[in-house]
Symmetry: C2
Subunit: 356 residues, 2 copies
């Protein structure tokens, strides 16, 4: 059991986007500093970080200085180059650990891992070439979806195969990257569960939220989700199962499809998650602070929900609605991004429904 | 009516203590940057600020550079040297404005102002010398309390006069500073009301909190306060009265004594206030964000209380209780101060009682 980090200690965060920004603000509440490592200039997290290193993930001198300057390392995205992790882990503990990263970085590894725990996933098959794909389509059927094994997010690196005829184009879309074919799931809606596991092995989960996507990007999360009590319990148990199996330390997002045959795991993200942003205004301790508590070796805090919440992402031109939103009772959370781009997450709002 | 500051704009904050720290974290939620001006090295606010200027208030070059780098100026303490304000106000708007500062910087000006609004204060008299003091004691009686007109906080610059015999020592304690004598108030308890006024003139007040002091330092604030509905209304009306009279923009703390003859104003603070820290976990928009919204020209947010809260300050050795507190459901807010000193505010906790 690690000793909790003392007040004034520094948490290194790989990635300086909005998740790093909100992690930094949360760390400040616990008297902890953050140091951001980010290749891009002026990242959103820089506004609220104690220190920022602007360097690429193959800059070993910068990585070494960063690793020596921090007490523990965490990250806001999972696609961190392995060589950087190899170097950093010799300098400071990395939470969540390498096993969680390796599992979630590769859709094939992730699905095999989930099935090894007895959890349901979409039917899937490894696809390395046209022969594999033909065989996979024969086995899984269409419609199906071809996804790169690595580096996919927000619907990128995916191609739908509505009929076997689409196979060639889909494979071309992968641009030679290793891929998996996933069968379509007949689900009624998608929920996600945000779980946390402390360095002491304690597990705490937030209430599941119900997600609506548009164009492959999360649009809203609503709590409580439309779930039967037994499904809610199932969601918590399967999240705990995953967290324990990975000896996980930190917050994890688990996306689930709700089907007549139970909950099917879509994917896991070894970090704070967009579908957990509602916790900032619905709980005493939000997902960002919970993650910081875990990686800092503190006990987990209270994630009890005190209100019903609808979280809505502000994407691209949604920012034009800001003047109007500022006049409502919604809690506004902006990421300080100067340039509005289509599909870019610029902020989110949490609308609260007080209980009782 | 000022135009609202756009995302990415910078708010200059005079003072880098815990209030500046929490203002900075709140500003980040609105996509705004902060720039701290603070004479002391490594101030608490630096951990979450976009920029920090370390310089004294008579460094005109540093003040000029600061004033030119920010879009609006606010402050976390009221005792800012007048010469610095004179220079800064030529460079950027200052909110709350000079009238609020001038009024609250001097206990005599403040009391005259409050009485001019028809509000009750403790009986008081100006004391510049032993003759004034004798006359004031004859008029007001004992027990009474002699206070420096300027620069007093947390019980500093005060001397009790239990009997006329104590007058000489009390006057000596003032060390030649202009002072006022205040009569004792027979009050049952102290409450404070945190009010906000936007650039558009809209006023919003948080529910009054009930304060308990120890050794002249705030120990706890509890909401709801023990007040009759009519007293609660009185508190809101008098706060609005003060805010409007000063053409105020920002958050203000008003300390009130509850007496059989109504509410008596103890003092006003033209800034976010320790007795408003409970709003961080009791409201959608806390006092820090409300202040930022106001000084940035945004509409005020929702200050509706969704829970009963007890705020407890962590002072000096209270930090020894941190490991135990981290295991409770309390929301922890630490200021990142490295050195624990007796009487030093190190952080606070908010304990939530969910309604309904």
């Amino acid at each position: 059991m690690t000793k909790p980090l003392p007040v004034g200690a520094t948490i290194g965060i790989l990635g300086g986007g909005q998740l790093g920004r909100m992690l930094s603000a949360a760390a400040s509440r616990l008297g902890l500093k953050t140091h951001i490592f980010e290749p891009g200039a002026n990242p959103p997290a820089a506004d609220v970080a104690h220190a920022v290193t602007t360097a690429s993930y193959d800059d070993h001198a910068a990585l070494t200085a960063f690793g020596n300057a921090v007490d523990v390392i965490t990250y806001e995205f999972e696609n961190i180059p392995t060589s950087a992790l190899d170097l950093l882990e010799s300098l400071a503990p990395i939470h969540p650990g390498r096993q969680a990263l390796a599992t979630s970085q590769d859709r094939l590894t992730e699905k095999n891992f989930l099935q090894s725990l007895g959890l349901q996933t979409a039917p899937f098959a490894n696809v390395e070439n046209a022969g594999d794909l033909a065989k996979a389509i024969a086995e899984i059927g269409t419609p199906a979806i071809l996804k790169t094994r690595r580096m996919g997010y927000d619907g990128k690196g995916q191609a739908r195969i509505m009929a076997p005829l689409d196979a060639d184009q889909a494979l071309a879309d992968m641009a030679g990257a290793p891929a998996i074919l996933e069968g379509f799931i007949n689900f009624s809606h998608e929920v996600s569960i945000i779980g946390a596991r402390g360095a002491d092995g304690a597990v705490a989960c937030y209430d599941p939220g119900e997600n609506v996507h548009e164009d492959g990007i999360l649009r809203t999360t609503t709590v409580p989700a439309n779930l039967k009590p037994s499904q809610r319990t199932d969601a918590v148990l399967l999240a705990a199962n995953i967290l324990n199996a990975l000896d996980y330390v930190g917050v994890m997002g688990v996306e689930l499809f709700v089907t007549p045959n139970g909950l099917i795991v879509n994917e896991i993200a070894p970090r704070v998650h967009n579908s957990g942003h509602w916790t900032q205004n619905g709980c005493t301790v939000c997902q960002f602070e919970q993650h910081i508590r875990a990686v800092a070796g503190w006990p987990l805090g209270s994630g009890v929900r005190h209100a019903d919440v609808v979280m809505e992402n502000l994407i691209g031109d949604d920012m034009d609605r800001l003047p109007e939103l500022a006049h409502t009772d919604a809690a506004i959370h902006l990421y300080g991004k100067a340039d509005v781009k289509p599909g870019r997450k610029m902020g989110h709002v949490n609308r609260i429904v007080t209980k009782g």
